[in-house]
């Protein structure tokens, strides 16, 4: 092994031969930094912790360059879970178990699958847009979001497959996912606003539904789809809960603003407006769900009752997320939507 003296000598020889090697000295002196900067001065797309050169043109123009705007604890662990729990819609779903179903059940399943095919990529396009506007110094957040983009693509894919595998096909497109009321995920320009809408409200509701997938499934393939999608959605919801928890702890001055986002989300959840919640009232999908839950077109009354219980459970789980994130004061101080509060009490 070379000693420091001999190393110095042949580094010098190399320089005499025309090699630069100044970078090698810089690396030698560089030690890994601790933690993530509160403010990011990274305008060149460099890797967090790498050595800035000083002569690189600034092209980053990242909108999000403050840690408190985007951060959440434990995202690295969550990202590892994203990596570990990937699955294949082609081979991990037992498609052979899908057998011909009565037309009404098949149509209902396909209508629901059409809805998910349409909306799942909302949760792909929008995070994608945020990734490229966020400083690479906050790479943990970017990684969690890009992993979500992958998951949502697979969801689009698996529900399209379900629609086409058993003779039904894609059904009517959904028109209510557009911005008929305020507070749409698509329109969010601020990260916390976006995350509260997408992760806390929108995907939270879908997560409850996927968790109850056994009730809507008519074969092992459908059970597997809902079970695997529920695992994925739980990670997406976790991004939002972890972020809100961080905001509650480190940006308390923004609590009132965040409550405003939650007001909007609750309004959408209570009325079904906005259409992200397939179990919501006024939804094309709610009659399809009632058919699946009841067991057919002629048993939709029974299905509606189950659907009502599902909405109550959605609210219960939403309240749990508020509590986990530290925003449950709204449940007790009269700010929470009265409709949701009523559902919560009914579920208790």
């Amino acid at each position: 092994m070379a000693t420091v003296d001999s190393r110095t000598a042949y580094w010098e020889q190399a320089r005499e031969q025309g090699f630069d090697l100044s970078w090698l000295s810089k690396l030698q002196e560089h030690v890994a930094g601790e933690g993530v900067e509160e403010q990011s001065a990274n305008d060149t797309g460099r890797v967090q912790g790498s050595i800035p050169r000083g002569d690189v043109a600034r092209f980053g123009a990242y909108t999000f360059r403050t840690k408190s705007e985007v951060w959440a604890h434990n995202l690295s662990k969550l990202y590892d879970e994203f990596i570990t729990r990937q699955w294949s819609s082609a081979t991990d779903i037992p498609w052979e178990t899908v057998q011909p179903l009565p037309d009404d059940i098949e149509a209902a399943q396909c209508q629901l699958a059409t809805f998910f095919t349409q909306v799942e990529f909302v949760a792909s396009d929008v995070p994608g847009r945020f990734i490229s506007t966020m400083s690479p110094d906050y790479q943990e957040v970017r990684l969690a979001l890009l992993a979500q983009v992958m998951d949502e693509s697979r969801h689009l894919d698996v529900f399209r497959k379900r629609a086409l595998v058993n003779g039904g096909g894609l059904m009517r497109m959904t028109d209510s996912v557009s911005d008929v009321v305020g507070g749409s995920t698509d329109n969010a320009r601020e990260f916390t606003e976006f995350s509260s809408r997408l992760h806390i409200t929108g995907e939270g509701n879908v997560l409850t539904l996927f968790r109850l997938g056994e009730m809507m499934a008519y074969n092992e393939a459908e059970k597997a789809i809902y079970r695997r999608c529920a695992q994925d959605e739980a990670r997406h919801v976790a991004i939002g809960v972890l972020h809100l928890r961080y905001m509650n702890e480190f940006s308390p001055e923004r609590r009132e603003e965040i409550h405003g986002y939650l007001d909007e989300g609750e309004s959408r959840q209570a009325t079904g407006a906005g259409g992200e919640n397939p179990a919501g009232q006024n939804q094309l999908t709610s009659s399809a769900l009632a058919m699946l839950l009841g067991g057919g077109k002629d048993k939709m009354d029974e299905g509606q009752k189950i659907l009502m219980a599902i909405r109550q459970r959605q609210t219960k789980e939403y309240f749990q997320r508020l509590k986990s994130a530290g925003f449950d004061d709204r449940i007790h101080n009269g700010r929470v939507s009265p409709v949701l509060l009523e559902q919560y009490k009914a579920a208790a």
Partner: protein, 374 residues
Amino acid sequence: MALDEEQAHQTDEAEGDPAKSPETPVAPNPDRLAWMNDTLEWGIRAQPGKRGLTMRDLNIGSYGEVPESSSDMSRRPRGAFPISGVPRTDLYALSARVDLWADNAVDLYEEAIQRRWMGHLEIAWDEITPQPYEVELAMRQLCTELAQQASIETDLIGQWLHKMNYAYHEVKTFLASEIFDSGRHYTVFRNRALHNDGSLGLESAAQFNRRMMETRPGWTEVAMFLYLVRGPLTLLLYRCGEAYARNRADKFLFRKCLEDKARHMAYGMAHVKYAVENQPEGFGQGLGNLMRGVERDLVRDLKDPVLWEALAIIIGGSVDNIAQGMAVVEDVKQRYIEDYLRRMQWAGVNKTEDNLSPDLAAFLRREETAPAGD
């Protein structure tokens, strides 16, 4: 009419004002079930094949008809029953097939999923023991460069993905898999640099990163830069990393990234070729002309010593042997330029040695000295 039914449905519900009244089960309304007839192709069945039920298996009947352009600015899945009166969700700038399509995207998406791997579990990190001091520093520099290349790839795709129309979901889902790969590449290279109590090296020279990020005319131009210009270089660096790895873990890491990158380039090359063949005559000529300025950026990056000296130390095994290592590096650069020309020509872009920047052409006019690890 589906629209009338939808409006009637909404009016009925509004009268109940569910926001203010307790929920009660709603009796089935025959009109509310009109959606049960709203399908364009009832009775069609996608059949799983040897590789399971793939996305390509779904492209049957009207579901497989990929439009030349789409004016649909909602998120209507291709083949779903359309209804009128839906407000636009977004303005999808890439709404023509020629702007993003590649026939192989649908298969590459499934391949990406089948060949997924886990850097934190599958790489035997404990086998990466400290290497000779200078090699370890050089390895950190190489890995910093590669992590930044991956991060820029994430930014680039993130910038364009949401502009792509839903009629082309095969491409959107493939690019989602690529952005996921780029995140994994970033992570493994950053972790490799930091392994053994390491630290990161200098940021990239970045002229070409800047060029890619600032490109606005279209995804095809970005694709040419990302897959035909940057891609061959990344591939060669991965190959060198694998060929000169000093342990199984490093070898595995570079090989897996190489497999991913080859898949990305398969899409990119196919897309650029498709665009050149289907855009108006002269498009390939235009892409070639665009490269005149871009090649100046390439030259600047190729002359920056940091990455290349690091690679020379890894190949030579020490600073003492850097000259020998650099001889191989010069071969790598030559191969890079040759590969760049070959791929551009394959895709139909007017790029030959005759119209190559003289500074880049200089890399071609030398005698090869050693194999570059493939």
